[in-house]
């Protein structure tokens, strides 16, 4: 198919345009708003409840929140990772190509000519940027509300070690990074789903369903052999980042796994998108 040629400067320009479209969209800000509501709700509930949550009560780490506001971010990230965050990722990645096809803008981008491979790369890059921004919103809002309500102090890690405020800040940022990386594979799956249809909602739903199914499969002990291959396998592995000494092996394993999903579904998306007739 035509138009596939390297064009360094203009690819950057196209990515910038892609991000502008993403960030000018009401839908994107609605999702950021919904994500921001999670740490706010969490912090308010803990702040106004009569007795502080005891160890092991409620979502993970909730009991740490009162010691150090930074933990609001971490708890909110852990809470949003299984479902809420993947939903937003599914919306953005599932809509990447299908949404343009549904609007009819895909044919105009292609005859511009954007180049099919270039457009696919830019679309994935846009979804990846969103996968970084979404947990970053939770992180930053969590920091803001947590430090306002609970202050910033020393924090006790899961290993029992005590770290200072700076350390807590760094750890919670690392957790957000882990969550962002976790979403890269799902974004690739969404991109592939997006090349299969001109109905954006269909691709979004399929992607979200896969995220849930993978987590359900991850719960079944009978499928233990499969678990290391599921893209959701390390999703809740951020706890390793909250121990002393800190272990990065989960982070790197996750990165390798997500890169594998990106390579596989990226190749499928390429094969599909560069050969299909654009008739919408």
């Amino acid at each position: 198919m035509p138009g596939d040629r390297a064009a360094g400067g203009t690819t950057i320009a196209l990515l910038a345009s892609e991000l502008r479209v993403l960030l000018r969209r009401g839908r994107t800000w609605a999702m950021f708003g919904a994500l921001a509501a999670i740490p706010v709700l969490l912090a308010l509930v803990v702040f106004f409840s009569a007795s502080p949550p005891g160890p092991g009560e409620g979502p993970p780490l909730l009991d740490k929140v009162t010691q150090n506001g930074m933990f609001v971010s971490v708890t909110a990230l852990v809470v949003t990772t299984p479902l809420f965050l993947p939903l937003t990722i599914s919306v953005v990645s599932g809509d990447a190509i299908a949404g343009e096809a549904g609007l009819g803008t895909l044919r105009y981008l292609l005859v511009a000519p954007a180049g099919r491979l270039r457009l696919l790369v830019v679309k994935y890059a846009g979804a990846a940027v969103f996968a970084v921004l979404a947990p970053a919103v939770v992180l930053l809002v969590g920091w803001a509300i947590g430090s306002a309500l609970f202050g910033v102090g020393e924090a006790t890690l899961l290993s029992g070690d005590v770290i200072g405020p700076g350390g807590a800040l760094a750890r919670s940022a690392l957790v957000a990074l882990h969550v962002a990386i976790s979403m890269l594979g799902l974004s690739a799956i969404g991109l592939f789903a997006s090349t299969l249809t001109t109905v954006g909602v269909g691709a979004m739903a399929a992607t979200a369903v896969l995220a849930v199914v993978a987590q359900v499969l991850g719960q079944l002990d009978q499928l233990a052999w499969l678990h290391p291959w599921l893209f959701t396998h390390h999703w809740l592995g951020m706890m390793d980042l909250l121990r002393e000494p800190i272990s990065f092996s989960g982070l790197t394993d996750n990165l390798v796994l997500q890169a594998g999903y990106l390579a596989f579904f990226g190749a499928l998306a390429y094969g599909r998108f560069t050969t299909k007739d654009v008739l919408s």
Binding site: P2, A13, R107
Partner: protein, 317 residues
């Protein structure tokens, strides 16, 4: 460089069992305003999609601006502006932002000149006042104008306009016609498709007529007009004698109708090798036939178009 901007040989597109385009041989010369005519469903848009690389051909070859399709389209498309099957935009962006977005996808669309070119293109289609409005609030006609503006963001060698007057009021239709004329005067080749001959007949130099995926006729407008057989209309009080006389000169009488003044209107086809009309009239009078009216008619483009594609509201399939 050949003198053809668009050339197809045996171009074919099959969807399942249906041949949407059937061995099409198009030849649109550079500098022409080439009208691709045909009723809805005749394969015009599918042809355009193949020419622009949106759909792959099932068979045959195509060249656009001397580049193979689809292999060379990366080089050809930056020289092509297009409006394909109606305008399509992001409803949540303004008109100007939509143009900037599509310009960013064009390898020739330099960021430094972008806002200037966008403003110019909007001005050209009369949308300057609506530039800052979200496209959501645009009427169909305004979207159509914005689609034309997108095709005009950069100077192009070839413009492909699929049904450019859809949704436009008569005033807008006239504006599009004068826009096409001014672009053609500037040397741009314009390939314009329409199901309404009247919309493009005044501006086009060449035309091709498609019906059910097949090419029915192609050439300059003059060639196409000449292709129809001429007819003689004769009003006479002596139809029998007149018919005998016409047949003697090789004409075929095809119709006979009672006229108001008690005479008869005879219709006959006039073969190319028939005698000149004035000679026929002289012979008729010499044979004692009363001639109350005599006319040689060539079919209008409209009649030709209907003859080639059939009439009525049914879509082709």
């Amino acid at each position: 460089m050949t003198d053809l901007a668009v050339e197809t040989r045996g171009l074919t597109k099959r969807f399942g069992h249906q041949l949407a385009v059937d061995s099409l041989d198009l030849a649109a010369p550079r500098g022409s305003v080439f009208a691709l005519l045909g009723p809805n469903g005749s394969g015009k848009t599918t042809t355009i999609r193949m020419l622009l690389g949106l759909a792959a051909a099932t068979g045959g070859t195509a060249r656009v601006l001397d580049h193979e399709v689809p292999g060379g389209l990366g080089a050809a498309l930056p020289q092509v502006g297009a409006l394909i099957e109606g305008p399509a935009f992001y409803p949540f962006l303004t008109g100007a932002d939509n143009l900037a977005r599509l310009d960013a996808a064009d390898p020739r669309g330099r960021a430094r000149t972008r806002s200037h070119r966008v403003a110019e293109a909007l001005e050209r289609v009369g949308l300057t006042k609506a530039a800052g409005k979200k496209v959501r609030a645009y009427s169909l006609g305004m979207k159509q104008r914005l689609g034309l503006a997108n095709a005009l963001l950069l100077p192009r060698e070839l413009l492909v306009l699929d049904e450019p007057t859809n949704g436009l009021d008569p005033q807008g239709t006239r504006e599009v016609r004068s826009l096409i004329r001014s672009l053609a005067d500037g040397g741009t080749t314009v390939l314009v498709s329409s199901h309404l001959l009247a919309e493009v007949e005044q501006v086009s130099t060449h035309a091709a007529v498609m019906h059910q995926g097949r090419l029915k006729a192609q050439g300059t407008l003059a060639e196409l007009r000449a292709a129809g057989t001429a007819q003689v209309l004769l009003r006479t009080p002596d139809p029998e004698a007149a018919a005998a006389e016409l047949v003697r000169f090789g004409l075929v009488v095809t119709g006979r109708q009672q006229a108001a003044d008690g005479s008869t209107d005879l219709t006959a086809t006039l073969p190319e090798d028939a005698p000149a009309p004035e000679y026929l009239v002289a012979e008729l009078v010499a044979a004692g036939v009363g001639v109350r009216g005599f006319e040689v008619r060539r079919p209008s483009m409209e009649e030709l178009f209907v003859a080639l594609t059939g009439e009525g509201f049914d879509v082709a399939r």
